[in-house]
Every structure is written in structure tokens, then in C-alpha cells.
């Protein structure tokens, strides 16, 4: 079995003269929450559509859960929430879930259990019998999320899942993603909302003009340099010099000492060393580059326009 949930090689999509996606190569591991990050119009949705088999790539190939993208049978294991979910507005919330459940091949007995549970999960129990035409944008997004989870998918595609949602709804999406990760599912998330991605994703790919510029692991700081800022008193010359075995770029200004370390694992040793030399430490802060800074560094301030 293919260990990766998604694997693409040189995926390209051209509309007329314009390449919406040019040479997308990426790999998403099973069980990880993968963020696809980029400015509007960077090719995120087009890429997702190719992975889902909604659009045929002009070049390159993609495999999803070990099968070619768009394989009908494998869709049984896939859930998808389109951006701005909408559906036949004459269906009620319950009818919508039943219809999609039947397309997944779920039995009526299964659906009788699953439907109320999902409505509860997305907070629509009180609106189960209401027609979609009476739904607000946020409610549509919620019912869309519910239909994406019907089949306990192994792989879930979420295209800007929090668009149109209030803070409570956004929180719900985060919780759902977390729960899906704990269940062992893979989540592929398109977003331009950095804070959301920062909280939920294990890894992110930055995309601009249809190309992946960089992929970053957000789990911990594994192998990445971290800048530490410290507030301390009774710092001696000897103590500061002794730090050089772990740190570089030491800077001292009043009580504020900052330095760069190769990885977070050396922090306890440094603290033990300093305490052993009689230094009083009041505060230790890792100055992690925020995703926003990273985004601006990688994608640039023009937003890809």
C-alpha cells in the first residue's frame, strides 16, 4: 500500500494561455493535516479539483490513497467540502445528508444513526427539518462539513472551510479537524487564513502562481534554528561566554539576553548551566517566526498578484 495519502508529480493545468497550476509536485503523508497556503488565485482550488478528479490535469499525474486521482471506487474513502457549499435548496438538512449518504452507498439503518449525530456535531440539530433555502451562509458551510464527514473518510479535502463562518463556526472547524486527525484521517486544507493554518496544520506548502515555493513542518521546531529571548539578572561574563558551546549570535541589552540555538532540545541544558552559575532567570521566550512573517518572506508582499 502507498504510504502517502496524496502524491503528485509535475501536475499542470492550463486554461488557454494561462497556467493556473504549473508543475505541482508534493506528497502528503497519511494521518497528517496538510495546509495548502497561498494568496487568492494562486491555484489552490484548481489543484484540489485535480486531486478530486473534477478537473483533468493538462500534464503530470496524481495519486490519491494509492489510486489515480478521480478513481470512482476510492471516492468512498474521501470527503470534500467545496468552498461556499451550496446544494439543492429544496432539500432539508436531514434529506441532504441522506441523499449524500446513499451516494456513498450507506444503508438506511446506518444513515438513521449517522445523520442526527452529524447534525449534532455541526450544531444544526435544531434545523434538521429546515430547507436549505432558509439557511444562512454559515449554516450551509456547516451542513457541507457534515456531508464531507458522512463516510468517516480516510482523506478529507476542505476548500477554505471557514469562509462565511463566524468565530464559533471557525472554532468548530478547528475542532473537527483535530478530531479527524485523532481518528487517523488525513486532512488536506486549502486556506489563505494563516492563523487557522498555524493552529491546525502539521505541515504547510506555500503556493504562488501555481507552484509550491516551499514546504514547512509546523510540528515543533525539529532541526530548525530558534531565537531565544531571556530576561535574567546576575549574568556574569563567564556565564555568557560559557553559552557559546550551544548558542550563536548572543546579544545582551540590560536584562534582556537573546541568542540563537540549533534546536529546542538544548534549552534545558542551557538553563541548567546558567542556574548553576547563579543566574536568576525570570522569563524565557522562544521567538518563533510567525507563519505570517514566513508567508510574507516566502510568498512576498505583493500577494502573488
Amino acid at each position: 500500500m502507498d504510504s502517502s495519502a496524496i502524491r503528485t508529480q509535475g501536475l499542470r493545468k492550463v486554461y488557454g494561455q494561462k497556467a493556473a497550476v504549473r508543475g505541482l509536485t508534493l506528497e502528503v503523508q497519511r494521518g497528517e493535516v496538510f495546509g495548502f497556503l497561498g494568496p487568492n488565485g494562486a491555484g489552490k482550488t484548481t489543484s484540489m479539483r485535480m486531486l478530486l478528479g473534477l478537473a483533468a490535469p493538462s500534464e503530470g499525474h496524481a495519486r490519491v490513497l494509492g489510486r489515480p486521482a478521480g478513481d470512482v471506487a476510492i471516492r468512498r474513502k474521501i470527503g470534500f467540502l467545496p468552498e461556499h457549499f451550496s446544494f439543492y435548496d429544496w432539500l432539508t438538512a436531514t434529506e441532504l445528508l441522506r441523499f449524500h449518504g446513499r451516494l456513498y452507498g450507506m444503508s438506511p439503518a446506518d444513515l438513521r444513526l449517522r445523520t442526527p449525530a452529524l447534525l449534532e456535531l455541526v450544531g444544526l440539530t435544531a434545523h434538521a427539518g429546515k430547507r436549505l433555502r432558509e439557511f444562512s451562509k454559515g449554516m450551509l458551510q456547516r451542513i457541507g462539513l457534515a456531508q464531507a464527514l458522512l463516510n468517516d473518510p480516510e482523506l478529507i479535502f476542505l476548500d477554505e472551510p471557514t469562509s462565511g463562518l463566524d468565530p464559533v463556526g471557525r472554532r468548530l472547524v478547528r475542532d473537527v479537524i483535530k478530531a479527524q486527525r485523532e481518528r487517523g484521517a488525513t486532512v488536506f486544507l486549502n486556506s489563505h487564513l494563516l492563523s487557522e493554518v498555524e493552529i491546525t496544520c502539521d505541515r504547510v506548502a506555500f503556493i504562488k502562481h501555481g507552484e509550491v515555493l516551499e514546504t514547512r513542518d509546523l510540528r515543533g521546531v525539529r532541526g530548525e534554528a530558534v531565537r531565544i529571548s531571556m530576561r535574567a539578572r546576575k549574568l556574569t561574563e563567564e556565564a555568557i561566554n560559557g553559552l557559546s558551546q550551544w548558542v550563536s549570535s548572543v546579544h545582551l541589552e540590560g536584562e534582556r539576553l537573546s541568542f540563537t540555538i540549533a534546536g529546542a532540545e538544548v534549552v534545558p541544558e542551557i538553563l541548567r548551566f546558567l542556574l548553576g552559575r547563579g543566574v536568576d532567570i525570570y522569563e524565557v521566550t522562544p521567538l518563533r517566526t510567525s507563519l505570517e512573517e514566513l508567508f510574507l518572506q516566502i510568498v512576498g508582499t505583493d500577494g502573488g498578484l
Partner: protein, 280 residues
């Protein structure tokens, strides 16, 4: 399986659209008007009237009614289904379905079947209604007037509607709603005028004009099916009378019916192919 689920939801969707109920309301109004007219016509029948001639008169009126039914059914087939593919493509609702474990061909054929179900119900209701009313109203005075071969005629009207439906699906897989409607009704217009040219040519013995009419029927065989339906339903005497929309001076042959069936199948196959290949 997926196709049947789609057919079910499409049938229900069509049933919830106002256009179907409006069409049925218009149909009901049409039937009552028709029945009232016929009622007074038969009521004023004088004892010494030539009953055979009167029978032909009622029969002719029935054909006019059936002609109107045919026209309404054709327009209804196009109007109700014109938006089903292009509309869902434009709004993106199709994406939620197309990413489920259902093939594109199942999706399209399912929708098509749903509309076929609706069109079948409409044609049955309207043709049944008008012939039933005519029969009942003429039962006392004329012993009940019925179309000659009712079932054959009704089947041909139905086939014409399904043909229009399939063509609407084919165009809907490529074009926007408005373009689709214009193209399909435009083609029906060609078939319509072609039918008249063919009949006129038959009466004036102009073989070249006749060929023009036949060519039009080959481009779009919808109207030819109606003219064959007339031939089947009308009494042989009226058929011999000649030039009118409800008579068939030049009768489309069985081959034309066969051609229409092939045309329908091919159109539907092309719709499936186009829909399977396109980006959603």
C-alpha cells in the same frame, strides 16, 4: 445504483419546480377550455346532422388539441431540463455529487432518467386527459370518438419529448443555460419548418423541395415524429384530406422513426462523453 439515486432526486427536483406545476395548471386550463368547446359543439348537434361528418369534425378538433399538447410537451421538456446541467455547473453544486463514488455517466443518465419520468407523466396526463374527455363527451351523441391508434401516437409524442430532452442534455453539457435553450429550440424550429416544406412539396409534387424537407428532418427529426403520430392517430379519411398541421400529406416512414431513435441514442451518448471529459 447511483443512477437511480440521481434519477429519484431529479424527479423530485423537477416536481418541486414551479415550471412543472405551471405547465400542469396551463394544461388543466387548456383541457377545460377544450372540453367546454367540445361540449357546446356536441350540444348544438341537430338531429338531422350528418353523423359521419360530425364524427370527423370532432376527430379533427381532437387532433388540434393533441397538436397543442405535443407543442406544450416539447417546450416543457426543454424548459424544465435546460438548466439542470449548466445551472449546476455554474453554481458548483454538481461538485458535491461528482466527488461521491458515482461515475459521471451514472450522474448524467440518472438525471436524464428523472426527467424522462417526469415527461412520461406529463405526456400520459395530457394525452390521456384530452382523449379521455373527447371520448366521454362524444359518447352519448356519437358513440365515443377516439384517435385511430392512440398508443402508437402517444408513444411517438413521448419519443419526440425524450429526443428533445436528450438534445437539451447534450447541449447542457457544453453550453450555458441560455445558449442551450436557443440551440435546442432553434433546431426544433428547423424541424418544424422542414415538416411544412415537406408537406407542401408533397402536395405540389416538387421532389426537390421534398428533399429539403427531409434534410431538415434529418438534421432534427423531432417534428417528423409528430407528423408520424398524426398519421397514426388520425382517421384514414382525414389523412386523405391533405394540407394542415394535423394531417400528414407526406408521412415520415418507419425508417424515420428508427433514425430518430438512433439520433436520440447518439445524442445521449455524446452528452455522456462530453460530460465525462469536461472539467466540473
Amino acid at each position: 445504483m447511483g443512477a437511480w439515486i440521481m434519477a429519484g432526486v431529479t424527479f423530485r427536483e423537477a416536481a418541486r419546480k414551479k415550471v412543472l406545476w405551471m405547465a400542469l395548471a396551463a394544461g388543466a386550463a387548456f383541457l377545460s377550455l377544450f372540453a367546454t368547446g367540445l361540449y357546446f359543439q356536441l350540444k348544438d348537434l341537430r338531429p338531422h346532422t350528418n353523423l359521419i361528418l360530425e364524427r370527423q369534425g370532432v376527430s379533427a378538433l381532437l387532433m388540434v388539441g393533441l397538436y397543442a399538447v405535443d407543442l406544450m410537451a416539447v417546450v416543457m421538456s426543454v424548459l424544465t431540463s435546460v438548466d439542470t446541467l449548466s445551472g449546476e455547473l455554474a453554481s458548483g453544486t454538481i461538485q458535491a455529487v461528482a466527488t461521491k463514488p458515482i461515475s459521471r455517466w451514472e450522474l448524467l443518465l440518472g438525471k436524464w432518467l428523472g426527467f424522462v419520468g417526469m415527461v412520461t407523466a406529463y405526456v400520459a396526463l395530457m394525452v390521456g386527459g384530452i382523449t379521455g374527455l373527447t371520448y366521454l363527451l362524444s359518447l352519448h351523441s356519437l358513440g365515443g370518438v377516439l384517435p385511430h391508434h392512440l398508443l402508437r401516437g402517444a408513444s411517438l409524442i413521448w419519443l419526440e419529448c425524450v429526443l428533445m430532452l436528450s438534445l437539451t442534455f447534450r447541449m447542457g453539457a457544453s453550453f450555458s443555460t441560455l445558449t442551450n435553450g436557443v440551440v435546442v429550440l432553434g433546431l426544433h424550429g428547423i424541424a418544424f419548418i422542414g415538416g411544412w416544406i415537406e408537406q407542401a412539396a408533397a402536395l405540389t409534387n416538387s421532389p426537390r423541395a421534398l428533399n429539403v424537407g427531409i434534410a431538415a428532418s434529418l438534421i432534427m427529426p423531432s417534428e417528423a415524429l409528430w407528423r408520424r403520430a398524426v398519421f397514426e392517430m388520425q382517421s384514414p379519411i382525414l389523412n386523405a384530406l391533405g394540407f394542415s398541421p394535423f394531417s400528414a400529406a407526406s408521412v415520415p416512414s418507419e425508417y424515420m422513426i428508427l433514425y430518430a431513435c438512433l439520433y436520440l441514442t447518439l445524442t445521449l451518448a455524446l452528452a455522456v462523453r462530453r460530460f465525462s471529459q469536461r472539467d466540473l
